[in-house]
Symmetry: C2
Subunit: 417 residues, 2 copies
DNA sequence: ATCGTTTGTTCGGCTGCCAAACAAAGCGGC
DNA sequence: GCCGCTTTGTTTGGCAGCCGAACAAACGAT
């Protein structure tokens, strides 16, 4: 009747290992703890040691988790240290900006192994952009021998709203020349890996959550100030995309109904006050009042204004102070509405640090007096200009940690390192 | 070796029935389907019919689910209809407003069995308010014979931010005379049931989600316009309370930096534009321009303005149109930030319907042009002035459906009906 | 009346997880 | 150096949960 002898169930381990939700969560735990013993896992999760042993036995043959020696004894037998092999796979993260393309090749811990960057008229040249993305991806993979075989997936950050249910469908309003189509599928077929697409602000928020100022914070907002202004929201530990995937358009929040007209059709949007073009315009307006400023003559760009502000120029300082105040009004509304624990300010202007944040915090303190519980910390991004590309890679990594069949080595030993 | 005979495991059913997450979810399914057969449950959930039989056998002795006859045959044996017994328990929902107290006694389907309402200076009289709540609760229970024994719990809606981790800790800023303490524990001990406290806008949103305009909608915002202005947010089907439980203070969103000062310390908050006192003030300002208006003379209240608007008075119409526009600016920002599928407008002024919503929708259409995907439907509340109290009861009901040990009859047959 | 269909139940079995027992490998006291 | 004591990891038996298959019950259709 019982055709299977007691020990024979070991045969299961040789075949496709089970990968249920519990083993998947252990897999993620080992990833985030870096080094951990079976006994620690048992204490950490409340599982029995025998169960942990069984599940770890299923994870070891994937090559993603390995035993790497013994740890210090705690008074008894020393534990066997399990380690996640962060080099067992790699991910391509693509930052498609309004005027540039950047690609990062990362390992499984978000560490950048290779980096490529080009300026390109992305808005007006969809076909050339797609070719450039493919070229830069190939360049990154070529830099690291063997990486192509270990590629897990490609993440793409796009500078416009994306519906997660239709990841190839881009907003036509922001990128009209793209005609509402991403057209990234050839990329997926060329490299034979799954593709993930999301908005750049969402992915910036994700990067901050995993590697930056948002580590360990379950509810925060990431506000990116560049040519436009966007935000990504992490609620209860996860990126919130809204009902149709376009949450986070803080740039068109109303600040001043008597302000300048915006492309969105009304006046005084945040983007018309603190977007890069708006700050340049404002500097030109104020030039006459600051004849001694280094910005009083010559060609103005957002970079020169930022440099001048860092050097203590009074005109630049005034612009930054005004920008901080206006951003503060929008963020105060955000705090009242959504009550995050933290606001992370990113984008080029965030390198001004407290010069931007102090006037911002002043406004927030005044604006949230009635609900003092809502006051949140405001910090600048910890990740540099690579945050968006790294966030795109992190998006893929997160999906793979939820379903480790995405890892090429996991169930295909011929592709293992 | 096997001391337990095959049929003996029926003894488990006589004792404490198992109540794991699966049986709990079946319990909730039966609740929401009202009438359903075992076979339908199996089709609906993907479980096997045998498993459904086992779990239903555990639910029947609680008295909350019962077999109530046979349904129509679908070509074979007719199904046994299972029905949730909505009268097997009842809940008290307390609406503590700024100037009134209302209490609803509901069955397990949100139906109001008894209702009590009193005006009271809640803000300035904490002790009297607590006594009044207890009195009205007792009155409601006395109206329905036997209800006290079936009481599941008491939910309280308070007009100020509440930290869900410290439900007895109220915001001192909004209700200074309460000194930051709810002091509701005596109520719980008197009626010997658990107590649940939350903000009124959150509970209004919950009521709309379960019984009103938000049924079946996973992401929406509920905006309540009364003396103050508050909002509650349902994200992915659940009420979102923010990092410290105070999300939804839309009343202090900045609309016009040159506007009138607000108690919160700055100018032009939404509450200073469309709160009841603001509308009355605005009517007085405009009186001279509308000599033929019925509001041109006499004492003005928000109710008289609403009545006049319903009757087609031009002054009142202008006020309502302005209010709709200002509310629209705030809601447009909300849409851009959070991208809900629906916005539900509640509070007294919502009875004006399209007279309020049309100018509101106009502003939204203009304001969200850039991210057209974010445009949401705007509707008025379907629930009347009882929505807050019913929402408070629904909060308790939701908790009980997650853990049916909260139902008095479930495991204590002596208290069963 | 017979057959096919649907429902609900029973029964044996597989899977997943656990507790207990045990082996391995350290520490510490004498 | 030997004997406990502790901690770690593995093995084993067992229990709970869920399923598939078989079966009885109750209907419709022919």
């Amino acid at each position: 009747m019982n055709e299977q002898a007691p020990g024979t169930n070991g045969a299961r381990r040789a075949g496709v290992a089970r990968m249920n939700s519990l083993s998947q969560s252990l897999f993620r735990l080992i990833w985030q703890e870096h080094q951990i013993s079976r006994a620690e896992i048992a204490r950490n999760t409340g599982l029995s040691r025998s169960t942990v042993t069984e599940i770890v036995d299923d994870l070891l043959p994937t090559g993603l988790v390995a035993e790497v020696g013994v740890g210090p004894s705690r008074g008894g037998r020393p534990p066997i240290v399990l380690e996640f092999n962060y080099e067992a796979g790699c991910i391509l993260g693509v930052d498609m900006g309004a005027a540039h393309v950047a690609v990062a090749l990362t390992n499984l811990r978000g560490h950048v192994l290779a980096w490529q960057h080009r300026f390109h008229p992305v808005r007006t040249d969809p076909e050339g952009t797609r070719a450039l993305i493919a070229e830069l991806c190939a360049k990154c993979l070529a830099e690291i021998p063997g990486s192509r075989k270990l590629l897990v997936g490609i993440g793409i950050a796009v500078p416009c709203p994306v519906d997660p249910l239709h990841p190839d469908h881009l907003s036509e309003v922001v990128l009209p020349d793209w005609r509402g189509r991403g057209g990234f599928k050839p990329l997926a077929t060329r490299f034979r890996v799954p593709l993930f697409v999301d908005n750049d602000a969402n992915l910036g928020a994700l990067a901050e959550r995993w590697w930056g100022a948002g580590r360990g914070v379950d509810d925060f907002a990431y506000v990116k100030v560049a040519t436009g202004v966007g935000s990504g929201h992490v609620l209860q530990g996860k990126v919130y995309r809204g009902a149709t995937g376009v949450a986070g358009e803080i740039g068109h929040m109303a600040i001043d109904p008597h302000g300048k007209p915006c492309v969105c059709g009304l006046r005084g949007c945040l983007a018309t006050l603190i977007g890069a073009p708006a700050l340049v315009d404002r500097a030109i307006e104020l030039r006459a009042q600051f004849p001694n400023s280094v910005l009083a003559t010559g060609h103005l760009t957002i970079e020169t204004i930022e440099e001048a502000a860092l050097a203590g120029d009074p005109l630049a300082a005034q612009i930054v102070t005004e920008a901080g105040g206006n951003l503060g009004i929008a963020i105060a509304s955000l705090l009242n509405l959504m009550n995050p624990r933290l606001v992370i300010v990113g984008g080029g202007i965030s390198r001004l640090g407290d010069q931007l944040l102090e006037p911002l915090r002043d406004v927030i303190r005044r604006r949230t007096l009635v609900s003092s519980l809502a006051v949140a910390e405001v910090r600048t991004s910890e990740l540099g200009p690579r945050s968006t590309a790294v966030g795109a890679a992190t998006y893929v990594l997160d999906a793979a940690l939820d379903d480790c069949r995405l890892f090429p080595s996991a169930f295909d030993p011929s592709r293992a390192a």
